[in-house]
């Protein structure tokens, strides 16, 4: 059984194409249901965000499954294969897992470290769960991705620090004033940059926002779009007296606020702090004003320096985050490999069990003379011998470091013990309680589960696997 990923993201496809194959328009659950009905896969999940559309499958034969899933994509969205194909990426097993883990950790996001994506991955999983399209492989995969995402979040500072000038200004304002709802903001100048910062502040729940511009009509136009109040330019100093936060973004060539102006504003404020964000170039506020007590003056360069520093820190954290993802991928890949051993191990056990039973049957006439208690003991002892003989080889098989070696070992075991399907085949699956008992002794719950006579819906696929393996 292989893990297969086919998808497009903001890294590979333009927005026009992403819009056309956006699963959320027709419902992710419908897509999952349609996918799960196709015979080429045994498990399916769909991750759909505005930046990516990805399909995760568990498939016995990845090549046919890939062909099929591309056909599905084109059918479902009504697009031509030639349009999508150049933008698709396709990954298998460990690399597919690494991709999902990086996505969940925010490493593949447009803004690295953004926190929403982990929630979106969780949503993708719960939709697929609700459609009952996930089995042991995708269950394990998604839970491992949540863990990777959480670890990156808590063990690195990938998501910390503002990465835009406007947000840097907002986070400074919050560090100075705490909650911003009760604060008054004055925006000086009605340009685009001032508007952006004002909107970010507005999103923090600022109720009172005043806008002043030399041209009253500009101030009024901006005031209307962001639900603020325009004040005439002549009343600017009165407005500044009320302000907690001032954003200056005019096109003036000379400073509109010199130190003496700010001193005059500060006097009646009785030490209330004033945060001035000067995002105009050339600067609107004389830097000397920033020396005044209780005045925090940040210009565009200061804010950009903060952003740059945060970006550098995030980039530095990416290496650490990728290391964490790598650890989780290794763990998942080891689990996946150990599953590859299951068909051979199952066949081997069935072979041994068949031999044991045949021998017991052959001796039946000799054993019949023994008391019932002793007969039971003989059965028990032979079963234990078989168990013990198989324990070490089973563990060794599962711990093999790579798939090639595992294939070679499987091949060897198949030949040495003639594990062809007519030999180790379905015979012992005849729900024998002794068989179930021997399975319970296994250290790996996944394998124990897959061997239980009355297993879950994934039972069928594992039985197929046993035959083909």
């Amino acid at each position: 059984m292989h893990l297969l990923l086919v998808g497009v993201s903001h890294r590979t496809a333009p927005i026009e194409l992403r819009e056309r194959i956006d699963f959320s328009t027709r419902g992710v659950d419908a897509a999952v249901a349609a996918l799960a009905g196709r015979p080429t896969n045994s498990e399916a999940a769909v991750l759909s965000t505005c930046n990516r559309a990805e399909i995760y499958l568990a498939a016995p034969d990845p090549d046919t499954a890939r062909e099929d899933v591309i056909a599905f994509l084109c059918e479902f969205h009504g697009v031509e294969a030639s349009e999508v194909a150049p933008h698709l990426y396709e990954k298998q097993d460990g690399e597919a897992a690494r991709h999902l883990f990086r996505v969940a950790a925010g490493l593949d996001s447009l803004v690295v470290g953004e926190p929403q994506i982990l929630g979106q991955v969780k949503d993708a999983y719960s939709v697929a769960s609700a459609q009952q399209s996930v089995g042991p492989l995708l269950n394990k995969l998604f839970h491992a991705s949540f863990l990777a995402g959480k670890r990156v979040r808590s063990e690195t500072s990938l998501g910390e620090g503002a990465v835009s000038v406007s947000y840097a200004a907002v986070s400074l304002a919050r560090k100075i004033f705490g909650t911003l709802t009760q604060r008054t903001v004055v925006v000086v100048g009605a340009g685009e940059m001032g508007k952006l910062t004002a909107l970010h502040l507005k999103a923090q729940g600022i109720r009172r926002m005043l806008i002043a511009s030399r041209t009253m009509s500009h101030a009024m136009a901006l005031a209307e779009t962001i639900e603020a109040t325009a004040v005439p330019w002549e009343q600017l100093s009165a407005a500044l007296g009320e302000a907690d936060i001032v954003i200056t973004a005019t096109g003036a060539n000379l400073p509109i606020l010199v130190r003496a102006d700010v001193t005059a504003i500060m006097k009646p404020r009785r030490n209330r702090p004033l945060f001035i964000i000067d995002i105009a170039v050339p600067r609107d506020v004389d830097p000397a004003a920033g020396e005044l007590d209780q005045v925090f003056l940040y210009n565009i360069d200061d804010l950009q320096a903060i952003v740059q520093e945060n970006l550098t820190r995030r980039a530095a954290e990416m290496t650490r985050a990728d290391r964490i993802v790598g650890e989780e991928v290794d763990r998942f890949a080891a689990w996946l490999r150990s599953r590859g051993a299951i068909p051979t191990v199952v066949a081997l056990r069935q072979r041994f069990e068949t031999i044991r039973r045949a021998e017991l049957e052959r001796l039946q006439h000799k054993l019949a003379g023994l008391p019932l208690e002793a007969q039971k003991r003989v059965d028990e002892v032979t079963r234990l011998i078989v168990e013990k003989l198989l324990l070490t080889p089973t563990e060794q098989m599962k711990a093999l470091p790579d798939t090639e070696t595992m294939a070679a070992y499987s091949d060897a075991l198949t030949r040495l013990f003639s594990l062809t399907s007519d030999n180790g085949g379905p015979a012992p699956r005849d729900s024998n309680p002794a068989e179930a008992g021997s399975g319970a002794g296994q250290p790996d719950p996944a394998e124990a589960g897959s061997r239980a006579p009355h297993g879950g819906p994934e039972q069928a696929s594992d039985a197929n696997g046993a035959k083909s393996g």
Partner: protein, 274 residues
């Protein structure tokens, strides 16, 4: 016996240090848990001492310090629970450790002098210890305020910027702690005056009671600290001295309190050595 909470507090101090340096939430929770364990051990210790001597261990300076440390630990844990801020622990808990060293190496548990067997006396000391604990918190909050203020002002957003709550919040926490402290300081000093008057009537010749005057260092410095905190609260309302100036005042105020509590208490006072 005072060594047990000392050791636990020291471990907690280390954990708070690691938490402050790394910012890992799990370490922070561990630090709080260790501190709570230390405070619990301290509670048992004080309970046992109370049973052994028949009254709360507050009559001599050494036991009073131990009780003060206990109260401060509880007050800090309470602040932590109500504000969800752990960044202050790295400043408070080392103070607990430093002060707890004194009772740990100087076991001073004695029965109180008969003259102290008055509910007024118990109220006097416990109010003041509680006031001192509040002032200690206010001082630490003030220090962190100034550190954060300097970082934002200098545009070097780093260590404290990442770890501390907002300036506004620190200021509000500071004024709350000072207000609570001031109320208890006022009660403590007032009750002290009443008790002195009563005790003088009973024991006219006691030299310590004769030394009870504004000129005694312990009393003079206590009045000085009361004046400073009163000024801080007044200046805040009247002339807008909030934020950094308030932070400085509460730092200076607690420095004076600490000198009065430890240095003056052991070496200088003639009136307060029972």
């Amino acid at each position: 016996m005072n060594g047990i909470p000392l050791v636990v507090y020291a471990i907690a101090a280390g954990a708070y240090g690691v938490f402050f340096a790394t910012g890992r939430a799990a370490v922070g929770r561990l630090a709080s848990a260790v501190l709570a364990a230390g405070a619990l051990a301290h509670t048992f210790l004080i309970g046992m001492q109370t049973m052994a001597i028949g009254h709360a261990p507050i009559a001599d300076t050494t036991s009073a310090i131990s009780t003060f440390v206990w109260l401060l630990a509880l007050a800090y844990l309470y602040t932590e629970m109500t504000t969800e801020e752990r960044a202050m622990g790295v400043f408070i808990v080392p103070l607990l450790v430093a002060l707890q060293v004194i009772p740990a190496i100087r076991p001073g548990l004695e029965r109180r002098a008969p003259i102290l067997e008055s509910p007024w006396f118990a109220l006097h000391v416990s109010s003041l210890l509680f006031a001192y604990a509040s002032f200690a918190l206010a001082c630490v909050i003030g220090i962190t305020y100034v550190l954060l203020f300097k970082e934002i002002k200098a545009k070097h957003l780093g260590f404290f910027y990442k770890r501390l709550p907002s300036l506004q919040r620190l200021d509000a926490m500071n004024v709350r702690a000072v207000t609570i402290g001031w109320i208890f300081l006022t009660i403590g000093v007032g009750v002290g005056v009443i008790w002195t008057a009563q005790a003088r009537a009973d024991a006219v010749l006691d030299p310590r009671l004769r030394a009870m005057s504004i000129l005694d260092p312990k009393i003079a410095v206590a009045v000085l600290s009361w004046a400073i905190y009163s000024f801080q609260l007044y200046a805040r309302r009247a002339i807008g001295w909030s934020g950094r100036r308030a932070a400085w005042l509460s730092t200076v105020g607690f420095a004076i309190v600490l000198v009065n509590f430890v240095a003056v208490g052991y070496f200088l006072t003639k009136s307060h050595n029972f």
